[in-house]
Amino acid sequence: MTDAMPVGERRQLAPPVVDTGVLGWARKNLFSSWGNGLTTVVLALVFGWLLSRFLNWALFTATFTAASGAECRGHGACWALIHEKYRYIFFGSFPYEQHWRPLFAVIAMLAMLVLSSDRRMWNKRLLLIWGIGSFVTFLLMFGQIHIPLGLILFVALAAGGLGMIMRGVLATPAELNGWRALAAIGAIGLALRLTGVLPAWSFVMAPLSYVETGLWGGIPVTLILATYGLVFAFPFGILLALGRRSNLPLIKGLCVGFIELIRGVPLISLLIMASVMLPLFLPSGMTIDKFLRAQVAVILFAGAYIAEIIRGGLQSLPKGQFEAADAMGLNYFQKTTLIILPQALRVVIPPLINTFIGFFKDTSLVLIIGIFDFLNTANQALVDPNWAGFPGEVYLFAAFIYFCFCYSMSRYSKHLEIELNKGTRR
């Protein structure tokens, strides 16, 4: 018996239709069994119906421009409210003509965050980026910057001291002398300033009109609270984590007590404490700006959470690293800053980004103490009696903006996790 075709020319048959392409995929993923198929049908019906109702309300019968709320009522969504109030929702009560200032401040902060996410910048350039970015942000938001001489001298002292400690082993004598000189200038200058020999001068830059923190609102407030809350909480968290792992019992007790206390209470109670109790803690007459109080509460809260994350990273390091560093004769500071922390921080970057996303959402709680972050301004936009009765539109808009920010950050975090794990053995 011979085949219809000679052996060498056997024609390839096409694969069965129901196993490949769209149909094949659908069969495998949607209809692989009776239960599966039923689930697919039910879900498709339910979501199809919900989606069609939602689109109908949100797009097809919606009003996009209207002069007042009364015109908008009755049919679908009233996006005219957003069109009318979007500037208040985004920027709060910042003086209307100067809304370009918070806009550029937000752009500066986003630029800082995006640049920091680029791994090529993870060295000294980071300090430069953050320094310039923060300066620009606060100059735009405040309008005028007064830096008192005492603060400049203190920063000189701190920078000189840090430089001496951290570069003590690695620096050339010339560089070490440079750090020592900086610290000396700072110390002597402070002493002279405190005894009154140097006058109370301050460095003033006043290119724009002054806008106090009570008028700030919207996205800039949310971004500033979250970003600078975490920036300042980060070194604080490192210190707490190192303290918790230290062998010195008093330090360990203090750090453990602080971390457990802060993690056990809700952020709301810390905010209420900051706004109500902090004035009692300070000498009479000394007041602290309400925005600063909220920022300090966020920093303390974030510090405790970051400390726990970094502690996890420290625990994941093999003991050999510590022992080898000791064997090389490095002291505690050198061991920590040169060997341990770089490795530990690398491991904890994705959880840190998740913490940042969490705090970006948690800043909405400052609504309770009367600070106008993005959620609060959205809430306030509902209050106008001319435009009453459209909570769905405003809240959906606010949710959409939050979603954009948080989803992009979480996707970046996932991407970073994959990238950072490329080098590790699986």
């Binding site: 005492g150 603060l151 002292l157 400690i165 110390a187 902090l278």
Partner: protein, 347 residues
């Protein structure tokens, strides 16, 4: 290296405290702080028509606002040197206690508890008010005694909340409270039907009825029940401690009353400067002495009346017959006309 770092850390701690201390505003008394700052910071309600409302330009007007403007006119000679901070009923006392505001002009009722346990002081009574109830006409309720079992919207941290509980207990009725902090949200809850009754001071009820009813409903759909269930003397508050500032606030209010009693208005105050009446000369500072005793400029009353007006003008413009609210002066008339407003003499 370690001893260097230890020394440095101690020095750093000292330096930090010093740097901050040299920069922070270490003002002593409240009045000194106000004068150094150049403005009075005034806590006002977030939005009650007639008492404190920000118009579309962001300018605050109202009866409570006028008290702040009078204080500013007395201290600085300019009634516009005021920063307004809107505060809810829960935030107002802590804001004053924590020096976030200097003066609280927030439709606050004077009570013993507030005068003593909170560390705050009252100055003079701006408005004699009482608490009432507002309901939708559709409910067919004509008296507060018919409100058994109702759901009542109320703001927390107010005498309203306590009086409400007392009234219902005394009349053996029960109610369900809906407690919301922001006055705008209370109104939204009431107008959406979440609660049957809205209770607060009658003046605020009248303001809400006139200014805050959302379309398509109208003011006539709502009635304020006739029962007034409490005394609510409303007045500004200051912190314990700076008696001079307290005196200035108190006498600024009395000055507005005295001016009305002696017929001085913002329109005729310049002519009144030439008056021969010794009382008027003393009030307006033509005869010096009163301003010096208070620690302000001698023309303090002149500035107040010229820029803000006397009590009657302020009342009429914001809550009286010339305003949206059209509240009758009632017990807020001067004592010479049978009301309760009685200012001690400026002498």
């Amino acid at each position: 290296m370690k001893y260097v770092s230890k020394h440095l850390s101690i020095a750093a701690a000292v330096g930090l405290t010093a740097a901050l201390a040299s920069g922070a505003a270490m003002a002593g008394k409240d009045l000194d702080a106000i004068k150094a700052r150049g403005a009075v910071i005034c806590g006002v309600p977030t939005g009650i028509a007639g008492f404190a409302v920000a118009d579309s330009q962001g300018k605050w007007v109202g009866l409570d606002v006028d008290v702040c403007r009078a204080v500013s006119a007395a201290i600085f000679g300019d009634s516009e040197k005021v920063k307004y901070v809107p505060l809810t009923s829960q935030q107002r006392f802590t804001a004053l206690q924590s020096s976030e505001v200097d003066l609280l002009s927030n439709n606050t009722t004077i009570t013993l508890q507030r005068d003593t346990a909170l560390g705050l002081d009252f100055t003079a009574i701006t408005y004699y008010d009482g608490q009432g109830f507002m309901v939708n006409k559709k409910l067919g309720v004509k008296s507060a005694k018919e409100l058994n079992g109702a759901t009542v919207c109320v703001a927390p941290g107010t005498t309203t909340e306590l009086n409400l509980a007392d009234y219902f207990r005394a009349n053996k009725m029960s109610f369900k409270p809906v407690v919301i902090e922001k006055v705008e949200e209370i109104r939204a809850a009431f107008f959406s039907g979440r609660c049957d009754v809205y209770t607060t001071d009658v003046s605020s009820l009248a303001a809400t009825r006139v200014a805050n009813v959302p379309a398509p409903a109208k003011a006539e759909d709502f009635i304020i029940l006739p029962e007034i269930i409490s005394k609510e003397p409303l007045g500004p508050m200051v912190r314990h401690g700076d008696n001079q500032f307290t005196d200035i606030v108190r006498w600024a209010q009395y000055a507005m009353l005295e001016a009305e009693e002696y017929g001085i208005t913002s329109k005729n105050v310049d002519d009144m400067l030439k008056s021969e009446n010794p009382t008027i000369k003393r009030i307006l500072g033509v005869t010096p002495g009163m301003g010096k005793a208070l620690g302000v400029d001698e023309k303090w009353v002149y500035n107040i009346i010229k820029q803000v007006g006397n009590y009657g003008e302020s009342f009429d413009k914001h809550v009286g017959p010339n305003s949206l609210l059209k509240i009758d002066r009632g017990v807020n008339k001067l004592w010479t006309q049978g009301g309760l407003q009685y200012a001690p003499p400026i002498r």
